[in-house]
């Protein structure tokens, strides 16, 4: 069901430019951090920045923050399915070492 209010809440060009700049800065930070040796935290930092960028794109460029509940439910569903993919895959990767590998 289309929400008539969706059309009236388009953000200003200025706010889009700000988001674009934020995304470019975040990309620069990702590149810079990749050159530092943070051990396992390199991945954590890179994924955290990527998640923030994803949220900015979804909320502002894709207008999710002005969308109706059904659209938000669809987005939440997508994130839930990503969580299922990661969680059940990790049941393998996180527990693979417990029994060890036969012959090693």
């Amino acid at each position: 069901m289309s929400d008539p209010h969706e059309q009236t809440h388009i953000d200003s060009v200025g706010s889009y430019v700000k988001i674009l700049l934020a995304l470019l800065v975040a990309t620069g930070v990702t590149t810079a951090v990749a050159r530092l040796d943070l051990g396992a935290f390199n991945t954590v930092v890179a994924l955290s920045i990527a998640s923030v960028k994803m949220l900015l794109v979804a909320l502002f460029f894709m207008h999710i923050r002005h969308s109706n509940k059904l659209t938000k439910l669809v987005v939440a569903g997508g994130l839930l399915w990503l969580a299922i993919l990661l969680l059940l895959t990790m049941t393998d990767f996180a527990t693979r070492g417990i029994l060890g590998v036969p012959g090693k």
């Binding site: 299922i84 059940l88 049941t91």
Partner: protein, 541 residues
């Protein structure tokens, strides 16, 4: 005898003429028929590969084709049948045609997107077909790494690109169906008055939209590793080959439900119509479709028990796999309960529905064998698995598709098919199917591995039986092709409602007008309200 065609009335088939009117059509019914032509082509291509496989397996020696060619035959059989026949089959043909009509809509929500979906399937199919003609692909339809990324010298990228493109066709069809069901139901068509075929297609669409993008991502990663040698699946570069299997099966296990859920929807329509009763436990059957769609995403690791996956993950996936049996069983029991005290007639669609229930039950129960960790180790990669999934995908999905084609053929074409021939072919298909695939359960249990064309001599008798069954099955598939085409010209003219069914699709003429209904229908009855219909008939009579 040639019967006069109903030429006076305008309908979607005669409203416009010429190739352009078909290739640029935005009518969901015509697009459904474009899909029908496309997937029928791929069905016969896949069938030709299957024929070569079965002929090769007549003898224990590999004396028809080389090992390399045999690898290509079973890969291209599966790629054709899964991605270009079974996945688009019911949703893109029957769903496209009937979902809008069954909810009282004039078309799908996005008609142009619908046409784009068909073009994407054709383009994807063209890439895969090119790969087949250019030399074929030999990785198996599963494209397991490291073989697909490092060692195979066959047309991996072209085939994978074809599947990638066809995947977007599937996503867009799913999206179109979801939006249509949410926004375009006729007045009075509440969620719980929707036919179960619509519920089944809705649940299928959720899988298409949520699962298929993961397949697309997986194919891109495969491409990046094969072409640019990025370390995603290669352990020497920091990757993990089992990760490919996780990503692949995250889509490809639910993909089995993309194939079989719409068939379940067809069976609900047929069982209700030909037993003149409302489906027993309508809400349970409706929600079981959604439950299968959701639970289907939690079980993929049961394909990987011997892959090197952690035993603990195997235990979780094994445990979760048993849950899918619950909604599947709800459907089977509720269909059976619907038959109880029904006024049953045994027309062709009903024969296919019965075939579906029996064969799907065998396929489903043997799936439980495979979900058990210990049992699965014995039968992994044997013909037991091949038999199991053919009972689901051919015995289930294809039986449902053929049942639906017969059920709705009068509506699609305005002509009846010949009932006697149709019953005969349904019987031939049922017998041929069981003769083909039941021996494979035994072969697998005895230890014959899949994907080998040379086998010990003691397995020959069962293989010969299977090949004989495949010949019978092939005859069973060709007969409907002939009489469906025959009926277009010579079939008896169909009335608007030849089965005396309750759905909205039977309230409009056969074939339907361009915009489906002369005026927007208003729904005042529950789905399958045969009790009221028969009471009205008694009053009128």
């Amino acid at each position: 005898m040639i019967t006069a065609a109903p030429q006076e009335r305008e309908h979607y088939l005669n409203a416009s003429h010429g190739l352009k009117s078909w290739l640029l059509t935005k009518d969901h019914k015509r697009i459904g028929l474009l899909y029908l032509a496309t997937i029928t082509l791929f069905f016969f291509i896949g069938g030709a590969f299957a024929t070569l496989i079965r002929v090769e397996l007549l003898t224990p020696q590999g004396n028809l084709v080389s090992s390399e060619t045999y690898n290509k035959l079973f890969t291209m059989h599966a790629v054709s049948m899964i991605f270009f026949f079974l996945i688009p089959s019911i949703p893109a043909v029957l769903g496209n045609f009937f979902l809008p009509i069954m909810i009282g809509a004039r078309d799908l929500a996005f008609p142009r997107l619908n046409l784009l979906s068909w073009y994407l399937l054709v383009i994807g199919g063209a890439f895969s077909l090119f790969a087949m003609i250019a030399g074929g692909v030999d990785t198996g339809w599963t494209f397991y790494t490291p073989y697909s990324t490092t060692y195979s010298n066959s047309w991996v990228i072209a085939t994978a690109l074809g599947i990638f493109i066809a995947g977007f066709s599937s996503i867009l069809t799913g999206l179109n169906f979801i939006v249509t069901v949410h926004t375009m139901r006729a007045p009075g068509m509440t969620w719980f008055r929707m036919p179960l075929f619509v519920w089944a297609n809705y649940a299928t669409s959720l899988i298409q939209v949520l699962g298929t993008p993961v397949l697309a991502v997986t194919i891109v990663l495969l491409f990046l590793e094969r072409v640019f040698h990025l370390g995603i699946f290669d352990p020497a570069r920091g990757g993990d080959p089992v990760l490919f299997q996780h990503l692949f099966w995250f889509y490809s296990h639910p993909a089995v439900y993309i194939m079989v859920l719409p068939s379940m929807g067809v069976v609900s329509e047929i069982i209700s119509t030909f037993s003149r009763k409302a489906i027993f436990g309508y809400a349970f059957v409706a929600f079981s479709s959604v439950a299968i769609a959701v639970l289907g995403f939690l079980v993929w690791g049961h394909h990987m028990f011997v892959s090197g996956q952690s035993l603990y993950a195997g235990m979780v996936f094994s445990f979760l796999s048993y849950f899918v049996a619950i909604p599947s069983a709800i459907k089977v029991f509720n269909w059976t309960a619907t038959l109880y005290k029904g006024s049953i007639s045994f027309q062709t669609p009903m024969l296919y529905a019965f075939g579906f229930i029996g064969l799907f039950t065998v396929g489903g129960l043997t799936g439980l064998f495979l979900a058990a960790l210990g049992m699965d180790i014995h039968v992994t990669d044997t013909y037991f698995v091949v038999a199991h999934f053919h009972y689901i995908m051919v015995g289930g999905a294809l039986m449902g598709y053929l049942g639906g084609m017969h059920f709705w053929w009068p509506k699609i074409t305005g002509r009846m098919y010949p009932e006697g021939w149709a019953k005969l072919s349904a019987l031939v298909i049922f017998l041929g199917f069981n003769l083909t695939f039941f021996p494979q359960f035994i072969l697998g249990y005895l230890g014959m591995p899949r994907r080998y064309h040379v086998y010990p001599a003691e397995f020959q008798v069962l293989n010969v039986l299977s090949t004989a069954g495949a010949s019978v099955l092939a005859v069973g598939y060709v007969i409907p092709m002939i009489y469906f085409i025959w009926s277009l010209r010579y079939g008896k003219v169909a009335s608007a409602n030849p089965w005396g069914a309750t759905g909205l699709e039977w309230k409009t003429s056969s074939p339907p007008p361009v915009h489906n209904f002369e005026e927007t229908p208003v729904v005042t009855h529950e789905a399958y309200d045969y009790a009221s219909l028969m009471a009205e008939e008694v009053e009128v009579g």
